[in-house]
Symmetry: C2
């Protein structure tokens, strides 16, 4: 069986060993920096695991996997700039440590290096096209996310499509590309894609849920940040949809309150969520998505024990005991 | 013979007909906008002309050519943001017409669409790799350009390498990719690349020269902008290198003078250029580069009359009578 830990270490080592042109230093140092501050290397890991369902020599597609990791990090670099975030994984963001222009140009270069690395890997027209489709979808998701900030009428369907594009798509495509390169048939490719996409959406909704109902002793994160920021989460969108006129008016009053006591706002909005039943609604949706993900994995036509690592990964990602 | 005008119109029509996903509008409207405000479509034109030396069906590589045009425009979009430029081709830049985040994300998406279009074109591994190499080089050139702004010791060799990467490389690669897709042999591919690269460098140096010695009645552009901005041009870099101690001190005094009378500064610096002989030096270098470009074209092993259009293009680009 695949050892996820060992495979992750292998990927991290490959990330460290990426070849950069010697100059210009000012371009490549920020790229090395953002890659060095970590992350779980989820996307390359999924690609290698999917490939490994069909073939053993995972090292042979390492450059393809690195391409995906660099693409993902390039989006983080530009997203942090657009969001004016100061920190990423506990370290200064590139535009804070250097400046905005450095973040723009290093992000562009990183995006190009992503294609460069993918092109250096195993060449397969369908994988190449899948990679490009994935990267375009992520940009569309980011645009919807920006659009939603200034809208108060976002529907659940629109929200689900946004998180599908912005975060889940790349998990699905990581598996899809790994499967294509491994020589999987069309059904397996599609089922692995669905497994990744639904798992990613379950993860994102769980993130929304945890912000309200999480166990602070476990997550060491202050609850209610999304509520304070009026973030259009699965929770808020559904609360606005399902509230009766009185509850809706109260919710809107809290949304308009941006300079009051944060704890009071969190408490009041959570109370409305509780009355409407947003907690259950979210948990049901998460379970539904996660079940669909695992059913899709079930359909993949390889020996059950080969799929154990992917099943384990999904459970770990969602914080489930396995 | 190829009709450059007709080919340009064909490219412009293809640009207009690029397929965009229907949504999100806020992502794709700025991309359509920057493409709609024109430009001479030089890069796709060169690609089609090089292809046409070997094959007639130029339409078949139109998507590859559009990929190059989109890449070029994505760099303009981000360069304008980094330079805080208000205008591009007489129209508002994207970050002025919308905002900075729109410019960042639309630029990223445009870069991804460039790969997408190239991938939709004729598939050829060497052409694919050439395209990626070209795009990476342009970013490196842009970084050197930024680095040079805060340096006073840039050498001529460093400057030439910067303009090679930032502007000439893409002209060379446009021809190289067209030749590869047309089935040219390695020598022709290399010679066409050199033709484009040297032509591009001659053009860039002539641009530096025109800013000081141009005919204002012809160019409708105020002279001396680079001098006022202390731009590290071929002229200034060589003047600093070749000046005697007294001239150097005077040049440095003018460089330090950023709030005085602009016309006085232009007059004084131009006077120093004249004494040192920077005018001649630049003109000689331009001729040398242009001659090398044309010699490289001579070596391309296709019938002379087929090369007429490329020769005509080069002369037009450099403003020479043909």
């Amino acid at each position: 069986m695949i050892d996820i830990q060992k495979l992750t270490e292998k990927i991290s080592k490959a990330v460290e060993e990426i070849h950069y042109n010697a100059e210009p230093n000012n371009l490549y140092i920020p790229i090395r920096y953002i890659l060095s501050i970590g992350g779980k290397r989820v996307r390359p890991l999924l690609m290698l695991m999917a490939y490994n369902l069909y073939k053993d020599d995972v090292e042979s597609i390492m450059n393809n996997a690195l391409g995906l990791e660099l693409f993902h990090n390039s989006t983080l670099l530009h997203d942090d700039l657009m969001d004016k975030s100061d920190l990423r994984r506990g370290h200064q963001t590139v535009h804070k440590k250097w400046d905005e222009n450095t973040a723009i140009l290093s992000g562009d270069t990183m995006l190009i290096m992503a294609y460069h690395l993918f092109d250096k890997g195993v060449k397969h027209p369908a994988a190449q096209t899948a990679f490009i489709d994935a990267t375009l979808g992520v940009c569309e998701g980011q645009q919807y996310d920006i659009d939603f900030e200034t809208r108060n009428d976002v529907t659940e369907a629109e929200y689900m499509e946004m998180i599908r594009l912005k975060t889940s798509l790349l998990l699905g495509y990581a598996l899809k590309i790994g499967a294509i390169l491994g020589g999987a048939d069309a059904d397996d490719v599609a089922n692995l894609y669905t497994f990744g996409e639904k798992m990613g959406m379950a993860y994102q909704l769980q993130d929304d849920w945890l912000d309200v109902y999480g166990d602070t002793t476990k997550f060491q994160k202050k609850l209610g940040g999304d509520i304070v920021d009026n973030k259009k989460t699965y929770m808020l969108i559904n609360a606005l949809q399902l509230a009766n006129p009185e509850q809706k008016a109260e919710l809107e009053r809290w949304i308009a309150t941006t300079d009051g006591d944060a704890d009071e706002k969190i408490k009041a909005v959570t109370h409305i969520y509780n009355i409407i039943g947003i907690d259950k609604l979210a948990l049901n949706k998460i379970e539904e998505l996660f079940a669909t993900a695992l059913q899709s994995l079930d359909k993949v036509k390889v020996a059950e024990e080969k799929k154990t690592a992917l099943r384990q990964f999904a459970n770990q990602l969602l914080g489930r005991k396995y």
